[in-house]
Amino acid sequence: MNKWDDNRAWLLVLPVFVIVAFSAIIPLMTVVNYSVQDIFGPGQRVFVGTEWYQEVLFDRRLREALWRQFLFSGLALLFEMPLGVLIALAMPKRGPGVSVTLVLLALPLLIPWNVIGTIWIIFTRPDIGLLGATVNGLGILFDHTSSPLDAWITVVAMEVWHWTPLVALLAYAGLRAIPEAYFQAARIDGASAWDVFRFIQLPKLRGVLTISLLLRFMDSFLIYAEPFVLTGGGPGNATTFLSIYLVKLAVGQFDLGPAAAFSIIYFLIILLFSWLFYQALQNVGTGDKR
């Protein structure tokens, strides 16, 4: 769509800029400030340049946490995106089923994150939890407090359980917005269900899938409360994700410098990947578009 050229549009954006910048810029600059200084106490600080950055970049445990984080976010997206779209495709288009499905889907999203972790502790307990007792009852030994693999399965299952509804809600609303005429045309052409999905529904979902992918990537990369409450980062360090390690570092040390440098690097990684995803999704498949 052609847009009007008019710099006065800035006036409409200004309130957003002011309100977001107010909470964004000063804290960001303060953290950048921490990250280049050694702070001994109030008024006693020394400029140390990139020392903290170097320290953080050569931290082996941080790099391990980073790979774990990539694996976790990768798995989360791998399950949540296709599953969310499938659910959206299966959801009823009209009738009382619509309200019921929408409200039920929203329920996991509305529970505070620390509570989700707590409920899953009991839910997965082998002795008194529904999931833990069922799985162990089937003869499969399952205990996320001792086996790293089980811990991973539990944390990923919790993430997929918690957040797939977000993708499904967005994809469902996107599907509802496709004009009926497209499907009639497809029927006349004798298109198969797969063709309809591949050439009509999927391209039309580009926008909502872009925002769901970005949201899920950012939030899963920053995940803290749920896995921390459930596993505490263990067993060992098996589920110590990047933010769990960051908090360990920030709380365990008197000096905020290294943790601040860590935060800035963390932020830049998310920024880089979000931007790559955004660019890729803007351009992918535009060749097919009519």
Partner: protein, 267 residues
């Protein structure tokens, strides 16, 4: 036949989705000793003690009131600043528009842990600590960008001819926006309101940092169920069940809007 299979799959999925929530409900109706002692598929001796405690203890129920106040405040602020901005992004090309649009989203990308201290200092300096406004303002950091992104999608779906016709008919921008344009994107506003409500409702770190007593959110009060004797799981589960209720009401009210064309322009 295909539709049958899909429906069965959907029902199966929803059943699995509800299992942890059912377990929470089950826990909320049992005493702590009962939960820790025996495995039971349903409460054998259901009682509402946990709920009664929450509804009669002011330190508990005030948490819900606090959360509802700052979440509503945040939703109103986020929507009112995001609406004109989303219109600008969907209709105009202006200096730095694309950069500005992506910059907004970058505000959701910072790991909160180290940012909490500067946030606390910033809001202390302006004297807003422990007020609803502080939490509502801090939450705009992640809700305003989301609101702008979602609303821009809806607005881009409205043909520009509508704007042009209205301006030719002599509408000024404010009147056109409120009486013509907003009704057209009602659905977008409803959906955006739900997402703002949801993300502000479940956010804990900022809300806890910026409040001490008067505006303390329910999610922070729930961490108090940890005591010397361990966690009171039943009480926590009951509180968890109650945190679902306000949001479920919100989505119930916007459900029709969600079913009718969400993100019209972005699809």
């Amino acid at each position: 036949m295909i539709i049958r299979k899909r429906t069965v799959g959907l029902i199966l999925y929803l059943a699995i989705l509800l299992l942890p929530i059912y377990w929470m409900l089950n826990m909320s109706l049992r005493s702590n000793a009962d939960i820790m002692g025996v495995f039971s598929l349903y409460p054998t001796d259901p009682n509402f003690d946990n709920y009664i405690k929450i509804f009669t203890d002011a330190s508990w129920y005030s948490g819900y009131i606090n959360s509802i106040i700052y979440v509503s405040l945040n939703t109103v602020i986020s929507l009112s600043v995001a609406l004109p901005a989303a219109y600008a992004f969907s209709r105009y090309r202006f200096l730095g528009d694309k950069h500005m649009f992506f910059w907004l989203l970058t505000n959701r990308m910072a790991p909160p842990a180290v940012f909490l201290l500067p946030f606390f200092q910033l809001y202390s300096t302006i004297g807003l600590i422990d007020t609803y406004l502080a939490v509502a303002l801090a939450h705009t950091l992640f809700n305003v960008p989301l609101a702008v992104w979602i609303l821009e999608g809806f607005m881009s779906g409205v043909p520009r001819e509508i704007d042009e016709t209205a301006y030719i008919d002599g509408y000024g921008f404010p009147r056109f926006f409120v009486t013509v344009f907003l009704p057209l994107i009602r659905s977008g506003v409803g959906v955006t309101a739900f997402f703002c409500f949801m993300f502000s409702w479940v956010e804990l770190l900022l809300a806890r940092t910026l409040t001490t007593t008067d505006a303390k959110p329910i999610a922070a009060i729930m961490t108090r169920t940890v005591s010397a004797t361990g966690l009171d799981w039943g009480l926590l589960a009951a509180a968890g069940m109650l945190t679902i209720v306000p949001g479920a009401l919100v989505i119930y009210f916007v459900r029709n809007y969600m079913a009718k064309g969400f993100a019209m322009g972005r699809v």
